[in-house]
Symmetry: C2
Subunit: 344 residues, 2 copies
């Protein structure tokens, strides 16, 4: 097993998350025998750099998955819906970063720090949760294990890169236009496929993803549903308000947690400090707390502003920050791949 | 009374809020007999424009309040502490926009839409609440009256102008430097008088104002304490997380409210629509919701994302936006002045 190597496909290799996947596969020295970067017809033919070599990007077709062992998908839900079954049919295990299969009962939804064991039950597809869910459940896990979690009320401060490179470019161009007093380009935010587009430069938008019937957005409902599935606990209650802010990378979350038992605040801090994947930055007196600007290119989840609620005896408040392209997407996907090959 | 006119001092006339006070006194045709713009020694001698005239800014000294009927203070807590009693001694009624007297038991803390009647009890000083509190209590008032409010969990998205013009300039300069790849000027955010300064351009900072012993910040505790005082209800529970975002003007708030009784969501919407000072913008299906960019230069409080909580039977979620320099400061102060002269 130690010497086994794998043919790895990255679908969406030229996208914001795909680029981080390639970088991270290289940095973590993932045992790649052959890398197969795949993308839309439009992006095919270009090259990406991997381990000092130029690798040609191929078009993502069903045949492109012949001989692939692990296929990392991050090219949008419709691409996954169409091609993930084709990859599985050809013998690949798919790790899918889109919303396409996350709630499918036969698809494990995995954050290795929380439910690595769920990987064993896969039937070809393993889903990577939504970025805003991942960082929250990593922070909740040690509290869940020690005290139980009754409910969570979360408000997010989400970076534009969650909507892809086009959103990053739009924030930059809008900011330049705003400073120059020019008209702002408005094509992407809050949801590119919807009719109305609003400025994100020097603004905040209380909508990430499309609206649902119940008045919440899909992004908010992802946090609600995925948290239950990852903890395998239909009783855990989450209410979310998801908001886009003019930040390139790094999602922040204001998290109120009601535990099932009373807790000791020092013990909470110690549990978080000792939990895998978490870095505690928590000393408001010394102005120490997590910020997105410090989380960029880091794979951990940063937790701070840890404080007992003023009113509810079993509640506390946290501030949780992580790089949405790394732990929120690429890092988590590759950690799943690492756990997968460790099981073999 | 209808023809009575007043000598009005504006202390901090050259500041971010002072400028809006002058503009708003003019627009609302407040019955000003004489305007007396006051500022620090450094700013004295310059002129401001009022009703088409240049008016010389005088130094704010005790003697400058001779003959003043109404003194609007917005030049920081230490200036108010020193000079508000001097103004009162000389017969002025002080409307103070700083934190200096807000929690003093003999000082009414007033948001006219909520507790205008408290003005009657003043003993020379009336306090204007903190910007983030004002917009929240305006939105809560119709719900409080109809159902009672048990508790509130709020996360804020606060504009930099809450820290004055220097913060507005810093956001702009940092943004320019960031786009150019230059070193960022770091002098103001999150709290100018503290040791450490962090970038606000393309970042969010989970600290507004100084830390308190309990791990909350002063800004957060203002929301907790001021809400109780304004509603004259020590039982109302507020938990706040206050966060600075790279927005020039307009505070946003994600507000979770537990009511004392069950409610009908359509009735909630109708109560909010008919409440003074509120504009409801609420249709997520059509991408209609408040955003800071739309609230600038508007005096109302905008409410949207109105939705029943997914779990708690008496809770709902709101998104509340207002111009922090207007309803959050200047407009509210002048509405207090209007209510004051109407009482005479």
């Amino acid at each position: 097993m130690a010497n086994k190597t794998y043919t790895v496909a990255v679908v969406g290799a030229t996208g914001a998350v795909g680029e981080q996947m390639l970088k991270y596969l290289e940095e973590r020295q993932f045992p790649v025998k052959e890398l197969r970067p795949l993308a839309s017809k439009r992006s095919a033919g270009g090259t990406i750099r991997f381990r000092g070599q130029d690798v040609v990007v191929q078009e993502a077709t069903p045949e492109a998955f012949e001989g692939v062992d692990i296929a990392l998908f991050s090219a949008g839900g419709s691409v996954s819906e169409k091609l993930a079954p084709e990859a599985v049919k050809r013998g690949a295990v798919v790790i899918d970063n889109t919303n396409a299969f996350r709630m499918h009962p036969e698809v494990p939804l995995v954050v290795p720090e929380v439910n690595k064991e769920a990987i064993r039950n896969h039937k070809g597809i393993i889903a990577n949760p939504n970025c805003s869910t991942i960082q929250m459940v990593v922070a909740l896990k040690p509290l869940y294990d020690r005290y139980g979690v009754d409910r969570v009320i979360v408000s997010t401060y989400q970076a534009v890169s969650g909507s892809g490179w086009q959103a990053v470019v739009e924030l930059e161009k809008q900011t330049q236009a705003s400073l120059a007093g020019d008209q702002l380009p408005l094509n992407v935010m809050p949801v590119s496929k919807l009719d109305k587009h609003y400025p994100i430069a020097f603004n905040v938008i209380p909508q990430c993803d499309v609206a649902q019937e119940n008045g919440f957005t899909l992004e908010e409902m992802k946090m609600v549903r995925e948290t239950k599935k990852i903890f395998d606990d239909p009783e855990i209650k989450v209410t979310a308000t998801c908001v886009r802010v003019p930040v390139y990378r790094g999602h922040s979350e204001s998290v109120y947690v009601e535990l099932k038992q009373d807790f000791d605040l020092e013990e909470v801090r110690s549990l978080l400090e000792n939990a895998p994947g978490i870095v505690v930055k928590d000393d408001i007196q010394e102005q120490v707390y997590p910020m997105p600007i410090d989380a960029v290119d880091r794979t951990e989840v940063f937790v701070g502003r840890i404080r007992r609620d003023l009113h509810h005896p079993r509640a506390l408040n946290l501030w949780v920050v992580s790089d949405n392209l790394l732990k929120g997407a690429a890092t988590n996907a590759i950690q799943i791949a690492e756990a997968l090959i460790a099981e073999e």
